[in-house]
Subunit: 548 residues, 2 copies
């Protein structure tokens, strides 16, 4: 019955070919190209681990140095397009097709290559969706992953940035794939086993430690009073109003400001213990003051954050940590937590249209979505009630049998009416639609669709879209908080005033907030140095954030 | 900073207390009660592994034998309420609160205990939702799990029924919880490491092998011609029509009939390779003929199925297997695959109302939902197109900008108009609503909400709800396939004929299907024995399914 073992036999042959360049499972850094040329086949689906933070950079360099005559037309299936090498392979023909989730730093280059037809794009996924496809129709033939250390049997220690690794390895190793791990060092015994050695075929001792990007560090010194005003409105008008305990925050300055206002403004409002207790969140340094003030009960993390390791180690009651003491993150489970166990997703976006559709993709930058489409969607499969969720459901249900009432995920967009360089956030039409037309995408790259968004908060006020009865009210509610943008100026003043009278739109004064009180003095920490101080010296910010 | 290590210290104290009854990590079966009384505390959140299939039954017996004076008011957070002991603990006061997903065999008893107030019910979740909460607000203090074997360091081999174990252990072990594994035997070296030993605190050598329920075995001998007719309509009117390649099947006879018609009726229609290639599915014995006929490319499994082990071992190109050769299942990833990477969910239900809401919960049985709410929902976070998904999206989009067109998950209910004992499937009002009222549930236990259902297939025809323009059309479309039930007889004949003319309702003759052709001769296997034959003797059905 050899016909049923073709994949398995091919895997065994690849491993045997790779073993020629290894001592047992161990491969010296200098032999990476030889190893990859031995185990890869043209047309393979390959996951070159590029997470939101951790990068298998040694293996990325190795892959880009392979001979395109031997290794070509690969189908890359990976979360992040982050390093230059991730795109170099498409220029040389080593890779051809791409399915991914996030491309922050390479957003401009990827847009150019898409226009130029150098990349055959499958789709821009949300993380959990890409992980799902790893088990169905995008199962990798080869996974190239990264960890902190491994023993000679391949037992892998990822350190705090576990991130996507267990998911990628599970899909690959159990479906006849080959797994290669780069590690910073080979050790006799790993501090903890994040991936058992029998799932790892090769271990490469990298020439230097893997690269990690500090993506979630926001310097309080850069926070503006407008952001503080918006944060105050969100806390009083949404967090307190709905009693949000379980939540996810985006990565922008707006939500970082909320984190820094909890121990000050939130405390004054008597909200401690009432809101923001359980989190699906990376270890944001700006959450330190709230943690130290006793606001936070528990945080599960997608990944880690540079400089937070010692702090996390000393706070095991708050974070998920291993027997070794360091963080255990897990992107797949944290995205699942964000989808099904959080009552609110709140984050920023670049563009919002008249219906509330939003996108971070512009014509010159294809940044990808990361987790936003997943966590910023109303999960129809949810079957457990919470006060926050049921209240949102009641507000949103216009017709129908009350006995069939269900709740709604709160999906909040926190934006200033004008973004960087005074580009308006509110637009008649998303740039994403024009991009889709130009490169022939079947599906426009919308980050969050209008029917999932429940609130938009700007410096002008909160628009509660749940309370809108029709498309026209919805448009006026959005125009009504769009400030001096063209969209905002196009409002029907009478209708907007009517919406305000009904509480669909709430201005700062309707919430009892005096805009002049939105002062940097309210921030629990006004600088990175303050965060270090709050942490008792445990937080060790990367050099670029140190100016003292 | 001891205040930040309270949980961690409490964990260490529990483990130290447990060690008194162990040799290293190993605990004899006779000491289970002592161990549990040593490591548990009143009010603990406990996951007593009760999966869809695998049961930590030795530990369940041990828990139910604990002294309620010492161990009481536990909050049980587990997928399945399957064994009598799972409910016994609520009668003795050992447990008090319950959050769960599925209670098939205990559905009647749990209903009684809910009415009687003996259980404080949190919610009836879908699996992935309960897993999500393990990382946010239902993190277990203690996990009591089951595996096939372990070594003395705790490295655990789950065998093919990996199921929920990695998820439960990850949430517990990394958040200061204690993990106890029962195993069938202690070995020197496990065949593969499903869970690394550093996440397992105690290993109990069970008095007998853990219990597994063969939940997914449907005997072809029991399939009726009505089921075959419905299956033919589904294949021709839905699978072929939309070109469904990636899918999940429910566990009923209806979908089992489809599996058995693929190599016969499907082959005749020329559909091989065009439909049903990639699956999120347990290893259904009725899928064997389709696999052997080359229809199936890949199957990822939630769990395993009794008797399928040898067959799976010999088909590593189809199934996910470990280096040891046996299946690696994983409920969390397979549910994620079903949510985000499948274009269709098709399954049965007990009751459907006039709008299309459905439930398997009746006033006398609270069976739970398992994976249906998750996989039978339209995931708004999905961002990758497929032909099937886009076609459904186009059909469903009545208004809106075509540039913002997105797809739709196909969610198909496959039912006979009258179920067991001639109870009508179609009802004016779901029993679930009455149950919710009686026991004071905030959220009615609906399995799939109407707005997620796209098609209903009965012996009378297919109702395509995507094409319905308003609630009235929807009601008539449902009545129009509800046969001789009261709901069916209440149809407006003119409106139903109009819907048929528009293709919203399709009768067998509209699909070119002659009901008289729906013959058992079409089944690729007509008995369990036929399935064994198809498998080349590799499938080993449990005794209860052998009558030869």
């Amino acid at each position: 019955m050899g016909e049923w073992r073709g994949e398995r036999q091919a895997r065994d042959a690849r491993i045997a070919a790779g073993r020629a360049h290894a001592g047992g499972k161990v491969v010296p850094a200098g032999a990476v190209v030889d190893l990859l040329e031995a185990i890869l086949r043209p047309g393979d689906r390959v996951c070159l681990e590029g997470d939101n933070q951790k990068q298998a950079d040694c293996l990325a360099r190795g892959l880009s140095a392979c001979d395109p005559g031997k290794i070509h037309d690969l189908h890359m299936v990976q979360s992040g397009i982050v390093l230059p090498e991730h795109l170099d392979v498409f220029e040389t023909g080593i890779a051809k097709r791409l399915d991914y989730s996030y491309s922050g730093p390479q957003g401009a280059r990827i847009a150019k290559m898409l226009y130029g037809g150098q990349i055959a794009l499958g789709a821009v996924h949300t993380y959990l969706e890409l992980f799902a496809r790893y088990f169905v129709d995008l199962t990798p033939n080869v996974a190239l992953i990264a960890g902190v250390s491994a023993d000679r049997d391949g037992n892998l220690y990822t350190g705090p940035n576990t991130e996507d690794t267990p998911t990628v390895v599970e899909a690959t190793a159990f479906k006849n794939g080959v797994v290669v791990a780069q590690v910073n060092e080979i050790v006799d015994t790993v501090p903890r086993v994040d991936i058992p050695g029998d799932r790892i075929d090769f271990v490469v001792e990298a020439d230097k430690p893997f690269y990690v990007e500090p993506l979630f560090t926001r310097d309080p010194a850069a926070m503006t009073e407008t952001q503080i005003l918006i944060a105050m409105m969100a806390i009083k008008g949404i967090y307190a109003e709905y009693g949000i305990k379980r939540l996810n925050h985006g990565i922008g300055f707006g939500t970082a400001a909320i984190e820094l206002l909890l121990p000050t403004y939130g405390e004054k409002l008597g909200l401690k213990g009432q809101i923001a207790t359980h989190w699906a969140l990376n270890p944001h340094p700006t959450l330190i003051p709230a943690i130290e003030s006793g606001w936070v009960k528990q945080v599960h993390c997608f990944g880690s954050e540079v400089g937070m390791d010692r702090y996390i180690r000393e706070r095991p009651d708050i974070f998920f940590t291993g027997a070794d003491g360091s963080l255990r993150s897990n992107r797949a489970f944290c995205q699942t937590a964000g989808l099904y166990a959080c009552d609110m997703f709140i984050g920023a976006t670049l563009q919002i249209d008249l219906m509330g559709h939003s996108s971070t993709i512009t014509q010159s930058r294809v940044a990808g979505f990361g987790g936003a489409p997943n966590m910023g969607s109303d999960p129809h499969g949810r079957r457990h009630p919470s006060d926050a969720w049921m209240k949102a459901g009641r507000e949103g249900q216009i017709v129908g049998d009350p006995a069939l009432m269900r709740g709604r995920k709160l999906v909040v967009q926190l934006v200033e009416t004008f973004g960087d360089k005074l580009v308006p956030t509110f637009v008649e039409k998303l740039d994403a639609l024009e991009l889709a037309r130009k490169i022939g995408l079947e599906l426009a790259p919308v980050m969050i669709y209008a029917d999932d968004v429940t609130h938009i908060v700007t410096e002008e006020g909160i628009a509660n879209l749940l309370l809108c009865r029709d498309a026209d009210e919805r448009e006026q509610a959005i125009r009504g908080v769009a400030g001096y943008t063209e969209v905002g100026r196009g409002r029907d003043r009478a209708k907007v005033e009517d919406l305000r009278a009904r509480g669909v739109i709430r201005r700062p004064e309707d919430l009892g907030i005096e805009p002049l009180d939105a002062d940097r003095a309210l921030l629990a920490a006004k600088s990175i140095k303050d965060l270090v101080h709050w942490s008792g010296g445990l937080y060790e910010p990367p050099a670029r954030f140190r100016n003292w």
